[in-house]
Each structure stands twice: as C-alpha cells, then as structure tokens.
C-alpha cells in the first residue's frame, strides 16, 4: 500500500490537470483524461471478474452446480459478436436480456409510476388549509394542461390551444427547476474537489490549512 501523502498528491495533481482544461485544451489535461479512462475501464473489468464472474458462475460451476452451464453458454455466445460469420448467435443472449429487462421495466413502470402517480394526482379540490387547496389546484391544472400539450391528434386552437400554451408554461417551470438542480450538482462537485485540495491533501502531510 502506497503512503497516503503520495496518493493524495497524485490525486491532487490529476485534479489540477483536469481543471487546466478550463484555461484551454492541453497535453496535461489529455494525459489525465486518458489515465482516468484507462483506470476506470480496468477497474470495471476487474470488479466484474472478481465480484460477478467468479462467485456467481465459475466457482459454483466447478463446485458441481451444472445448471449454470446454460448462462455460461449464453455468455460465451456474446463473444460471437467479434466474428462476422457467427455474430447472429449473440442475438439469443441479447434477446433473453432484453426480454427480462423489458418485462421487469414494464411491470415496474405500471406499478410504480402509472397507477401510483394517477392515484397521487386524484387530489381533493378543497383541502384542509388554503395553501393545500391552492397546491392541489396547481398540481391538477398543471398535469391536465401538460397532458393537453402532448395531445397531437387535434390542432392546438381555441380552448385546446390555450390549455396547451399553459402546459408549455408548466413545462418551462419544470425545466427551470431541473436546470437549477443541475447547477447545484455541478457546484457541489466543484466544492468537493476544492475541499479535497484545501483540506484532505494538506491533511495527508499533517497540515491544517482551514478549520
């Protein structure tokens, strides 16, 4: 295991190298980017091999769990994609995966989103307090207006057009909220890196730069 100051210094230099792109594209940035991509790819392969392939397939198979021959063969078929002549064989394994995940996604969406969200939008038009009543009206009108906007079977004119326009306003507000949250996320990442450079890195040398 390498000493902490060395690892922290390496991490700090790579962070600064990545930030150098903000000035302009440069070889130091390119080097840090390639190091990251290479390490990330290697890490994923190692993790998948150690945590998935060995314990879930290889070790039980060698221990006599022969039903695992089926997923093993399906896994081998995935490698047929590297040959032009036999790449059609990989479709069996892909088909199984697509079918399984589609089935789960459809059930999950129907149970977790469709039914539950329709139910959640059946709100009382007169609630306990004035603010709750107002909120319920905003939610109901917002949902209906936005749905009208996505109704394309009739030209958006008259009452339909006005509702669709209101729907656009609701959509714009939601996009604004999403943008605000995205800004928050990016600033958080910057805060995290700066805290690393100002707190963790000096601390690895026993220096306390800020309290």
């Amino acid at each position: 295991m390498l000493p902490s100051p060395f690892l922290h210094t390496m991490a700090a230099l790579l962070t600064i190298a990545i930030f150098s792109f903000l000035y302009k594209d440069n070889p130091v940035y390119k080097f840090a980017e390639h190091v990251f991509v290479g390490i990330a790819a290697g890490y994923i392969v190692a993790i998948e091999f150690q945590n998935v392939f060995l314990p879930n397939l290889w070790k039980p198979l060698l221990a006599g769990d022969y039903k695992l021959v089926v997923p093993f063969l399906l896994g081998v078929l995935m490698f047929s994609r590297f040959t032009v002549r036999f790449n059609w064989l990989s479709r069996w394994a892909i088909g199984l995966m697509v079918g399984t995940f589609s089935g789960l996604a459809i059930i999950g969406f129907a149970q977790g989103d469709l039914v539950a969200q329709i139910q959640a939008n059946m709100l009382p038009l007169k609630a306990g307090s004035l603010i709750d009543t107002f909120t319920n009206w905003v939610v109901i009108i917002g949902v209906l207006a936005t749905l009208v906007y996505f109704f394309f079977s009739k030209e958006h004119k008259g009452a339909l057009g006005a509702s669709a326009k209101l729907g656009i306003w609701f959509l714009m507000v939601s996009f604004g909220a999403s943008y605000g949250f995205t800004v928050m996320a990016r600033i958080s990442l910057l805060v995290g890196r700066l805290l690393f450079l100002l707190v963790d890195w000096p601390a690895s040398f026993g220096i306390e730069l800020i309290h």
């Binding site: 903000l22 977790g112 959640a120």
Partner: protein, 273 residues
C-alpha cells in the same frame, strides 16, 4: 457578447466558491419537509431493528451523495439500528466500507457482522432488486470479504424485505431511487427513504408527493439539511456557503446575459429600421 471570453466566468465561479470555503459565512440552512420525512421515518424505526442500506453510487458523485451516507448512518447507528449495506454500482463497495467503518466502528463502536455488514456489489440491477425481495441471503450468499452470510450474526432471521424495518437508498442515477420505487417499494410495500444527486431530484419529488418515498434528500443541500437535523457538521454543511454564493453568481450571470441579449436584439432592430 460574441467576443466575450468565457474564462472570466470560470474565474468568478472559482472565486465565489473558494472564498467561503476559506472564510465561512455561516449562512442559515432551512430544513425542508422532504428531509424531515426521511429523518422522522428513521426515528420511527425501533432500536435493534435492521435497515437495508442501498449504496448506489461511485466516486464520480462522491461530494454530493457521500455526505448523505455519513449523515443517515450517523442517525441509524446513534439509534442502535443494525445496518445491512449493499451496492448495485461496481464502484460502491469501497465507499460503503469507508463510511460504515468510520461511522459504525470508529464513532459508535459497532461491530462488523453483528451491528453492520457490507454485502458488496451484485450485477443485475432490477433483477437483483426483485431477487432481494425473495431472499437477501440467496442474492448475496457472501459479504464483501467473501464470508458466507450464514456465518454473520447480523443476518440471523433476515430472509427478505419483510425482515427489515425500512430501506435507505442513496443513489446517483441508474440503477437507483427510481428503480427501488418501481421494483421494490411498489411490489413489496417496504418503507423507502432516498437521497439522490441534485440532477435527479426533480424526477423523484413526485414519488415523495405520492407517498412512495417517505423522505427525499436532494443534492448537497439535502445532505446539509440532514446534517443539521442529526447535529453533525460535515462536508455538506461546510460546502453550503460556497454552494449558495455559487448559485448567486449564476443568477447574476443569467440576468446580465439576458439584459445584454435584449439590448443587442433591440439595437439590431433599430439598425435594420
């Protein structure tokens, strides 16, 4: 505006984020009802019960969501609640290990295998979630270190989600909160509280409104609010001044950008007229 060097924006953002980190302003943190919902749900869990802690993120989003893990685990361990942690992201297990060791073992003196366990990572996303609802030891036969879960006292009597008081999910994307709601909460009716990156938060608020989530921590702000509730001053609280000033700078830039845009379009119209 065409000739404006955007590097000035970067410098301003760097300064407004850096200065409050060096000289904190101590701006107030207001706790939202979504965060209180998560806190109250953990408060209702009886001491000695077990909570499933789904740690679904990797180092890319560490600054945002790791403080949530620290804050929620502080709360769980302070109430003597046992924690069964696992990950659906390959980069998650070492992060889970770090936070469990620092908070559980070092701060609260909890024992690995008795009071908490790290089951590690499992590939399969939604399939793993559904499988956990049928059998937790069947899905994770061994922990992060390869120890069979049957040898760990914490796993005695833990078969599926009916044996855990609630699920706390800290996630940074797919698979994450949305999938836990769709595949687990709606199917097995488990109490679910979540913490997520700020980018994902707007998508998950409807789940809180519908009651599918009992609480939601959105981004660094959510983490800071939770730290305030549990009385811990962590990295989220430390970063909130910088976060607030960063937002203020962005707002100023948007206003200036719009003023300059409208001025330039007006002057162009005048030139044409």
């Amino acid at each position: 505006m065409e000739g404006f060097d955007r590097r000035y924006v970067f410098v301003v953002i760097l300064l407004v984020v850096l200065i409050p980190l060096l000289a904190p302003l101590g701006l107030p943190i207001r706790v939202s009802k979504e965060v209180v919902g998560a806190y109250d749900a953990i408060e209702r869990v009886p001491p000695g019960s077990t909570v499933y802690f789904a740690c679904d993120y990797d180092p890319a989003t560490l600054p945002e969501v790791h403080p949530m893990s620290y804050a929620t685990l502080n709360h769980l361990f302070s109430r003597d609640i046992k924690v069964v942690g696992a990950c659906l992201w390959p980069g998650g297990p070492p992060l889970l290990e770090e936070v469990l060791t620092r908070v559980g073992e070092e701060k609260f003196g909890k024992k690995y295998g008795v009071d908490f366990v790290n089951l590690g990572y499992k590939e399969g996303r939604e399939v793993v979630m559904v499988s956990l609802g049928k059998s937790i030891p069947g899905t994770f036969p061994a922990d992060f270190y390869g120890t069979p879960v049957s040898e760990l006292p914490i796993m005695d009597g833990i078969e599926d989600f009916t044996d855990v008081a609630m699920i706390v999910n800290i996630s940074a994307g797919y698979p994450g909160t949305k999938e836990w709601v769709q595949q687990v909460q709606s199917r097995f009716h488990v109490i679910l509280a979540a913490g997520c990156t700020a980018v994902s938060a707007p998508e998950y608020y409807p789940y809180y409104q519908s009651g599918q989530l009992v609480g939601l921590l959105g981004g660094l702000a959510g983490a800071a609010e939770y730290e305030k509730l549990v009385g811990v001053s962590g990295t989220a609280t430390r970063g909130m001044d910088a976060q607030s000033l960063g937002h203020l700078a962005i707002i100023v830039f948007i206003v200036i950008g719009n003023i300059l845009y409208f001025r330039s379009t007006r002057s162009r119209r005048r030139t044409r007229g």
